[in-house]
């Protein structure tokens, strides 16, 4: 895994609560056996009309969305299906951070494993940010994971919470499965003590 470094980016503001993963990537695109090509399908049914033409009124089709790395969105982002295709599609589009007041649990875990940073802010801060972006679409924010701060152009830093283990893995580029596999001895010890007797091969 590559190390998560700090970055600055413009922000796309998508003022919708409870965005579910079926919207982030519709189920019909999940028949793939690879992780590739999902960026083009991101928010497909909101992004394109029935003829496959971009809808002019959707934020990701705005010229300013090109190259943007931060998505500012409503409450409870990523609810519904557990599909990891959602963060795969978001990162392939170019996003590196999503800012919301809350995230669905499975989406949050999936995002962190793909170097997509879910940033939780208070509703006051969320209101402030959405207002700032609405007033100045060219506004750039800096995301600094090491200090857990969202830096405003004024220099003001907004602290955000991150699970300390996830932070460590992101900053150091540690793959969580590698970390788990290093605990082979503990896993073997647990197994030798018994546990449940299920055996699907029986």
């Amino acid at each position: 895994m590559t190390k998560f470094t700090s970055f600055s980016s413009r922000v796309i503001w998508m003022p919708i609560d409870n965005v579910d993963t079926d919207q982030i990537i519709p189920a019909r695109f999940l028949k793939t056996v690879s992780k590739e090509g999902l960026g083009d399908q991101l928010f497909y049914d909101w992004r394109y009309d029935a003829q496959g033409q971009p809808r002019a009124d959707f934020v990701l089709n705005h010229p300013l969305a090109k190259g943007v790395q931060i998505l500012l969105t409503g409450d409870n982002f990523g609810c519904g299906s557990s599909r990891e295709h959602a963060p795969w599609a978001l990162t392939q589009f170019g996003f590196r951070a999503v800012i919301s007041t809350s995230f669905a649990d499975i989406f949050k875990q999936n995002a962190l494993k793909n170097s997509l940073l879910p940033i939780v802010v208070s509703s006051d801060v969320h209101d402030l940010l959405s207002q700032m972006v609405a007033e100045n679409p060219f506004l750039k924010l800096r995301v600094d994971l090491a200090s857990q701060r969202l830096m405003l152009p004024s220099g003001q830093g907004i602290k955000f919470p991150v699970d300390p283990f996830a932070k460590h893995c992101l900053l150091e580029g540690i793959d969580e499965l590698d970390y788990v596999l290093q605990q082979e001895a503990a896993i073997a010890a647990y197994e030798s003590e018994g546990g449940s007797p299920l055996n699907t091969l029986a």
């Binding site: 003022p15 919708i16 609560d17 409870n18 579910d20 079926d22 919207q23 519709p26 189920a27 019909r28 999940l30 028949k31 793939t32 056996v33 690879s34 992780k35 049914d45 029935a50 409503g74 409450d75 409870n76 609810c79 519904g80 299906s81 557990s82 599909r83 990891e84 809350s102 669905a104 649990d105 499975i106 875990q109 999936n110 494993k113 793909n114 699970d163 300390p164 283990f165 460590h168 969580e176 499965l177 970390y179 788990v180 596999l181 605990q183 503990a186 896993i187 647990y190 197994e191 546990g195 449940s196 007797p197 299920l198 055996n199 699907t200 091969l201 029986a202």
Partner: protein, 468 residues
């Protein structure tokens, strides 16, 4: 005296492999179920690392999401779906994982076959790359939906990194009225606390109304825990659980059964255990529920009217309601009952079990599906299908004018060709009414099998209690 513990704490404590400072606990997983959609990239990951599946004997595969339900004949017509199905088959063969293939006599929806074959047992930790894994909580198992990276982690290590969740007691007491079922309990809970109301929590359902449910009904309740955002949802095992499990293929037998039973009886939450959150629901006060919007929290009693955005104080909530009603093309202040529908879907991991088919058939017996409605009945598994046929339920459905299908996820996720056309309305016994969930542009009303069957007869959203 030991500190009183909840059932979740007991299962958690029994599965800790290691706990390191500053890191999530490493939790041992007793059973992983894999299906074709969320596993191919995980198996690729194993190959890239040169790692084997650690415990193929605690892993089980089947195909359900992208498989056709019109026929069990091969080849599968959709070449992309066919490739995904055959990929799981080859992955299971390569890694030595037991597998119910497309034509297997026990094939079915992953959350139907786990319990049906006795794979799901009380006190276990169960995972699957599918958010409806909470279904298995009906047995007193701690069951999480996980992403593909975590599928790979569990395949490789049989462990998952987890932080503890908050405990959330859902107490449901009293008797359900006529026409009200398990689906209405869970839809009522989600309508009350919202789609994010359970985030960070594990629900523990209990109370006299829960105890009175069959295993099939209990699975319906636990299944939709994710629709309130909960990490998992479970219930204490009891004699209903043990009677269901006894004699199933993978359930313990003989002396092993007695030992397991003694262990399982220790699982229910201790007197005096503390929950982080609690809520009470009066089962006697529930009506059949139906959703009107584009998330499962946008639900109401069937006698209700579509809410008016003008009456919603919170701006974000108001906007969400306006957006939902626009997509659904519904007028505020009007009842849903009587709204014409074009499709009725009975099936899914929520309501595709034999109890659900019996309930629907009970309504359809001696009646006809309205000519304006296409009704699909999709059993959750091949054994459910055979059982229904042995009871003559298939004849009731066919005689009424419904389509009797093969087992699969079908129109719940619309990956296999079973889908709504743009603009169509369905009453569906599935779990999600998100935009386009049942087909691009389709509009879904979530409800129980009783309500769905009544609506099929009426040709419109209908209250089973007043069906002519």
């Amino acid at each position: 005296m030991n500190t009183p513990r909840t059932i979740v704490e007991k299962i958690w404590d029994a599965h800790i492999v290691s706990e390191r400072e500053g890191a999530p606990a490493l939790l041992y997983i007793d059973l992983q179920l894999v299906h074709e959609v969320t596993s191919p990239q995980a198996f690729d990951g194993l190959r890239a690392r040169g790692v084997k599946v650690r415990r193929p004997d605690r892993t089980f595969g089947t195909v359900d999401h992208s498989t056709p339900t019109l026929t069990r004949l091969l080849p599968i017509a959709d070449p992309i779906a066919a490739a995904q199905v055959s990929r799981l088959e080859s992955n299971c063969r390569e890694f030595g994982i037991p597998f119910f293939d497309f034509q297997h006599q026990n094939q079915g929806v992953v959350h139907v076959i786990g319990p049906e074959n006795g794979l799901t047992q009380p006190g276990m930790t169960v995972v699957c790359g599918d958010s409806h894994t909470a279904t298995h909580g009906a047995f007193g198992a701690l069951a999480f939906g996980i992403g593909t990276s975590e599928v790979e982690m569990v395949l490789a290590s049989q462990c998952l990194l987890q932080r503890p969740s908050q405990s959330f007691r859902v107490q449901v007491d009293g008797g359900l009225g006529a026409g009200v079922s398990a689906k209405d309990i869970i839809l009522a809970l989600i309508a009350r606390i919202g789609v994010g109301g359970g985030t960070g929590c594990v629900f523990e359902f209990g109370g006299s109304a829960i105890r009175a449910l069959s295993m099939d009904e209990r699975m319906t309740v636990c299944n939709m825990s994710i629709e309130a955002g909960a990490r998992a949802g479970l219930m204490a095992p009891d004699n209903v659980t043990y009677e269901y499990l006894a004699g199933r293929q993978y359930a313990p037998k003989g002396a092993a059964w007695d030992q397991a039973l003694a262990r399982w009886r220790q699982l229910p939450t201790d007197e005096g255990a503390i929950y982080n959150r609690e809520i009470s629901i009066d089962a006697g006060g529930l009506e059949p529920m139906i959703t009107f919007g584009t998330n499962p929290g946008m639900g109401m009693p069937i006698s209700g009217v579509v809410p008016d955005p003008a009456g919603v104080a919170d701006a974000a909530e108001r906007d969400a309601l306006i957006k939902a009603l626009k997509y659904m093309d519904l007028e505020p202040g009007k009842p849903l009952a009587g709204k014409p529908v074009q499709v009725v879907f009975i099936g899914s991991c929520t309501n595709g079990r034999i109890a659900d088919l019996r309930a629907a058939a009970g309504v359809l017996k001696g009646r006809k599906v309205n000519p304006g409605v296409r009704m699909l009945v999709v059993p959750g598994s091949q054994p459910v299908k055979r059982q229904a046929e042995a009871e003559g339920l298939d004849r009731i459905f066919r005689d009424a004018g419904a389509e009797w299908r093969e087992a699969g996820c079908s129109m719940c996720i619309a990956m296999n060709g079973d889908q709504l056309q743009p603009g169509q309305y369905s009453v569906s016994t599935s779990n999600r009414n998100f935009e386009g969930r049942q087909g691009k542009g389709g509009r879904t009303f979530l409800a129980s099998p009783l309500t769905a069957a009544a609506s099929a007869v009426a040709g419109a959203v209908a209250d089973v209690r007043t069906l002519a």
